[in-house]
Amino acid sequence: MILMQGKGVSAGVEKGTLYFYQRTDATVTKTAADIETEKQRLADAQKKSIEQLEVLAEKARAEAGDESAILFETHSMFVEDEDYVDNIMSVLEAEQCNIEYAVQEAGKQFSAMFANMDDAYMQARAADVLDVTRRILNNLMGIVAGGIDSEEPVILAADDLAPSETVQLDKSKILAFATQGGSGNSHTAILARTMGIPAICGLGDSLKAEYAGRVAYIDGEVGRLVIEPDELTEKTFQDKYAKQAEMRRLLQTMKGQEDVTLDGKHINVYCNIGSPDDVAAVKSNDGQGVGLFRSEFLYLASNDYPTEDEQFEAYKTVASAMEGKRVIIRTLDIGADKQVDYFQLEKEENPAMGVRAIRICLNRPEVFRTQLRALYRASAYGKVAIMFPMITSVWELKECRRACKSVMQELAEEGIPFNPDTEIGIMIETPASVFIADELAKLCDFFSVGTNDLTQYTLACDRQCNDLGKFFDPHHPAVLRALKMAADAAHRNGIWIGICGELGADLSLLPTFLAMDLDELSVSPSSVLPLRAELRKSIAKTCDLKLLEC
């Protein structure tokens, strides 16, 4: 078994033949030349390069999205960059040489400038400068870049791959990328992730040219490339591959499909996320909104209260990334059990039932106000909804609404844009909220059930306790009845109800949820498509509430 270890930069597993990318080598020799002729040649090459880059940008936009396209547009601007061109000209004047040599020298210098910066993103841009330089040189020397000479898709191996090289490749012939150099910030990594294919970089010398033509197994998650695997490695690979194939099949068939039953009942299938970074997963899994955006990451990430601006940026990022689809943001939901020293929370015997979540906000109006201001500001950039956790009384909700109204008034006076129709909802996660659901429903726009905590408080079972065994039944009729009570109260009062707890993704409960007429299920991104598949097979009319019986 030959095992090569690199840095996994794009997840996925594939088995294929290793094909080494053939790059037509442009060796530049310095010769004497007439400056005026050379300047004209440069102008022609620049024009041609820009035209090519525009075509590449179009192609990239269609195949891999905006981000890749913008990179080519940036390259296009590099071609005419003042300093880059000035540099070429001064070498030309000084050396009285051919333009190829001058361009190559300028390329080296500018690429080195980026490579020497102590910012990983900028360092990776050194490769972009080299790419642009190579393009100009190819155009000067009349060279056309190479392709993939293979009938079957291959694992494309190279020392490194420049953006313009990857985009020109026939995608249908590429299973994965494996490079000796490169980084997680390199264009190859970004492209692979967008295409959803495995990629490993930094394999170094272990990736030998003599392996060309050999069958290899690539695992982009762990960064391993293997030739002639032993039994265990092969089995692990096959398992991962089967799982991946199933997910891909689902993706193919389910993406873009409506979340509707066979008899026409719609349910909104949203996603639960913990940070703006998760939005990519929401989109790639075709989530139709964010049913729970946990805001705690902002408070847990630092040593002091996050500022209004920091919060605003995070909420705005998600709101705009979701492009008009609903984003439900929950106000801070922490307690004495979390590590947030700067909150200076008193130590508690029972943090699950102590001063937590909305109680902290109502006790600390300044903290609450800051978060609400950030949320309302973000509401101008998308379809934001605000959700309050751990509500047990009508007065709490009234107090929250007063705080919202006050914040809206402030922002209006300051001339800061916000959406005055921002939906306000609450989490149903305590038995109290279920018993007074009718009254609560009159004061908000939606309910979202936190089934994990609702189960804990209803069954008097600590969700962190592993010894409870048979006493802890997530499908307990009591919990399901509580859910039905809340659903009925919601619908009697004309508001919608959804689930954001783990139970939402439990496919065995889908018939029960349909029978209860739930309006929304918010699950982890990877659960969206399996849920959709199940939903599309269901007939709501035939679903019953048998599980509520004891």
Binding site: T74, M77, F78, E82, M122
Partner: protein, 86 residues
């Protein structure tokens, strides 16, 4: 001559995408030069590579200055761009 100072809010700072857009925007104002100063260094916004080379990060304060025939327009447009994208 008009100028404004601005503290970068975008976690990625002035990376390729906004730098490219800034350069394009700056070039669209006739007979007007726009510069960006970070600390001791000043570059023209149209100098894309140098602008990226400044490696302006989040929380950095920069000064943007415009001078020329279309400086009013340029000032407004650039300020808006920074506020919306950076």
């Amino acid at each position: 001559m008009k100028q404004f100072t601005y503290t970068i809010k975008d976690p990625l700072g002035i990376h390729a995408r906004p730098a490219g857009q800034l350069a394009k925007l700056a070039k669209s104002f006739p007979d007007t030069t726009a510069t960006l100063t970070k600390g001791e260094k000043t570059v023209k916004l149209s100098q894309l590579m140098m602008l990226m080379g400044l490696a302006v990060k989040k929380d950095t304060e920069v000064t943007v200055a415009v001078e020329g025939a279309a400086e009013e327009e340029a000032y407004k447009a650039l300020l808006e761009f920074f506020e919306q994208n950076l």
